[in-house]
């Protein structure tokens, strides 16, 4: 797993962005950028070259699921590993995310070990 890969974290709660950034730092991921909703994230992805996206679901104007669909529909971005970290814990949410092509799904509140495990899993398959 290349820990220099640029990671984009997306969440409308600044505190959550900071927590995820710090947890990633503990896992030696230092090349981290942030966005506060799906549309900002999509613009950054189109302008950059991210090796991993970690996104919340419930954001406005563009949700994490809609961002995921846009990413999977984009010829250049479609293979980017995409982890959803969200408080949306209904089965229908997980199924919708999987059908849209999510690489893994973490429900909030989560622990650092779960984050490490899911990142390792999706990066191996990347």
């Amino acid at each position: 797993m290349d820990k220099n890969t640029p990671v984009l974290i997306v969440d409308d709660y600044k505190t959550m962005l900071r927590i995820i950034r710090n947890l990633l730092k503990q896992l030696d991921f230092e090349n981290v950028e942030e966005a506060t909703d799906g549309s900002e994230a999509l613009a950054k992805m189109r302008a950059g070259n991210f090796g991993l996206v970690i996104s919340d679901w419930n954001m406005a104007p563009m949700t994490g699921l809609d961002l995921l669909k846009e990413v999977r529909a984009d010829a250049r971005l479609k293979n980017t590993p995409f982890i959803m970290i969200t408080a949306e814990s209904k089965t229908e949410n997980v199924v919708a995310a999987k059908q849209a092509g999510v690489s893994n799904y973490i429900v909030k509140p989560f622990n650092a070990e779960t984050l490490r495990e899911k990142i390792e899993k999706v990066m191996v398959h990347a």
Binding site: K14, M16, T63, L65, D66, E88, N93, K108, N111, A112
Partner: protein, 211 residues
């Protein structure tokens, strides 16, 4: 006038005057003496009419402005303040954690490991702020819906108290067109109550079933 039917009152409200008129119209249409049962029934009907009229007046005189101008905005402001204060406190905790991470880097060894483990647990615990923020957001949305409904009901009964007929119910607020609502927005329900959502283990199993 049969026993139990109150005489017309000069200070009666328009609603009460209508009730009096209705009772008198019924009486005027009856030929001969009223039986005791008919008189009692009329008295009951008049009493019922007055009770309904009083209830309408009480609803109309509710201090809706207190609810709409003061109580609900005040409640939503308080909730916003809770979110703001918890965010501020969480950021201060995170500031301290970042200082401690620097210390852990300098001390090294077992102490650094112990510090690092504790810091990780604090990071994990701080995610409460996101969950509580989303829960409070749901409550604010519910309060605003109540505010709108209370205003609608009191507006209708204020019109009645002023002597107008009951206006037709206002149509419900338009829902966003289904085609304009994305799947992501439609499925965004926020945090579930304990036991209502699926666990991480269940999610892992569900995802594995797809593979």
């Amino acid at each position: 006038m049969p026993d139990g039917i109150a005489p017309a009152n000069a200070s009666a409200t328009p609603e009460e005057a209508r009730i009096d008129a209705a009772v008198r119209a019924v009486l005027g249409s009856m030929a001969g003496d009223l039986t005791a049962t008919e008189a009692a029934l009329l008295a009951e009907l008049e009493g019922l009419g007055r009770t309904v009229a009083r209830a309408k007046e009480e609803i109309a005189s509710l201090r809706v402005d207190d609810i709409n101008i003061s109580h609900i905005p005040s409640a939503t402001d308080e909730l916003d303040a809770i979110v703001g204060h918890t965010a501020q406190a969480t950021n201060e905790i995170l500031d301290c954690c970042e200082v401690l991470e620097g210390v852990a880097g300098r001390v090294g060894g077992g102490e650094a490991e112990a510090l690092s483990g504790a810091i990780t647990r604090i990071y994990e615990a701080c995610s409460f702020q996101d969950i509580t923020g989303q829960r409070i957001g749901k409550v604010v949305t519910a309060l605003k819906a109540i505010e709108a409904r209370v205003a609608q009901v009191t507006e209708r009964f204020s019109a009645v108290a002023a002597g107008h007929s009951l206006p037709a119910s206002a149509p419900p607020p338009p829902k966003p067109a289904a085609e304009s609502e994305t799947e992501g927005r439609r499925l965004a329900n926020g945090p579930q109550l304990p036991g209502a959502g699926v666990s991480q283990a269940d999610i892992d199993k569900l995802l594995a079933d797809f593979d």
